[in-house]
Amino acid sequence: MIRPHRAHALWYAFLLHRLSGLGLAVFLPAHFYVLSMALTQPDRLDRFLSWSEQPIVKLAEFGLVFLLAVHVFGGLRLMALEWLPWSASQKTLAAGSVAGAFLISTTFFLQAV
């Protein structure tokens, strides 16, 4: 439950980072297990890969990429917050320029697609 003292952006950023981290931690052992099949059980791996062509699995992959992206940006945010002795206004400017760069690059990317 989000109790009233937690209702602010930095706490939500912590929650997102923690949940995405847990999600990835649950995914990674399964990921390595499936990869290891390439060495131990190649036939079983091929069957799994054809099973994973299903739309529901493709949809789940979007979720996975989302978790990864959120966790990477969350980690960069934490490192910037804790390792760079910036003032509050410098942090706001830095966050603003990253958001601006993301907006512009995504626009170009969508046009390329």
Partner: protein, 242 residues
């Protein structure tokens, strides 16, 4: 104000942590009323056995902090109209501290951690030496100045989920004090401070949730101070290994 006086439904925590419960009071609403006014009104007009703590009533002493509708606040400077939820108010003792009775918490763990974090002056001179001149514009002094308005109210300590999860964690106020001492040019034992804040309950436990900075009534930034300690203690660790 209307001629017919309106009243508020105020729930107040009574008793200790284990056997306590919320008790309801009808309190008349008044103009420019603070949460401390509400609590005092209950104690003066409804139940003289209500226990709570306050001293200065002007936001200087740091005695009157309580949980108000789930958020830690200095009650003497919190206006009712700012926090009233419909017609309801919930006033409880501060989180993360043992409750003595009703709204009064035992502040000992909070202050013990100030001492554990070496949040005290380590003199570099004796009384016979001339007074050292400090340039108020110097970078170190500016960083030290950022934290000196702390009134020890424990609002940050009550807001911190890392404190709730780890009873050994020194907490935002003690760590901010340590950062202030660390940046004081007149302090003689900065390594002692770093060693005190980088142990088991030290600054590296902080998850940067930022509730301390969010709720600090004096608008200080313990999150920033703790990040400073993380940098300083990490730098000291690598320097000593070389």
């Amino acid at each position: 104000m209307s001629s017919k006086q309106e009243s508020m439904d105020v729930s107040v925590w009574r008793g200790d942590e284990q056997s306590g419960r919320f008790e309801h009071f009808e309190v008349p609403a008044q103009e420019s009323q603070t949460i401390l006014d509400v609590v005092s009104w209950i104690q003066q007009h409804q139940d003289p056995t209500l226990s709570y703590r306050y001293a200065c009533r002007v936001g200087m002493c740091g005695s009157c902090a309580m949980m108000v509708n789930g958020v830690p606040r200095w009650t003497c400077r919190t206006h009712v109209k700012k926090v009233l939820d419909g017609n309801r108010l919930e006033v409880a003792p501060l989180r993360n501290l043992p409750v003595i009775k009703d709204l009064a918490t035992d502040m000992d763990p909070f202050f013990d951690k100030w001492v554990a974090a070496e949040g005290m002056h380590h003199p570099s001179k004796t009384r016979d030496d001339p007074i050292e001149t400090i340039n108020p514009e110097s970078a170190d002094r500016q960083v030290a100045n950022a934290g000196i308005e702390c009134i020890n109210c424990s609002v940050c300590y009550a807001a911190c989920d890392t404190v709730s999860g780890n009873p050994d964690y020194l907490g935002p106020a003690a760590l901010q004090r340590a950062w202030t001492v660390y940046n004081d040019a007149k302090d003689a034992d900065k390594q002692l401070v770093l060693d005190a804040v980088s142990g088991r309950g030290g600054c590296h436990n902080c998850h940067s949730q930022g509730s301390c900075t969010m709720h600090c009534p004096n608008e200080l930034n313990p999150l920033d101070a703790i990040a400073g300690l993380k940098r300083a203690s990490a730098a000291s660790f690598f320097k000593r290994r070389r």
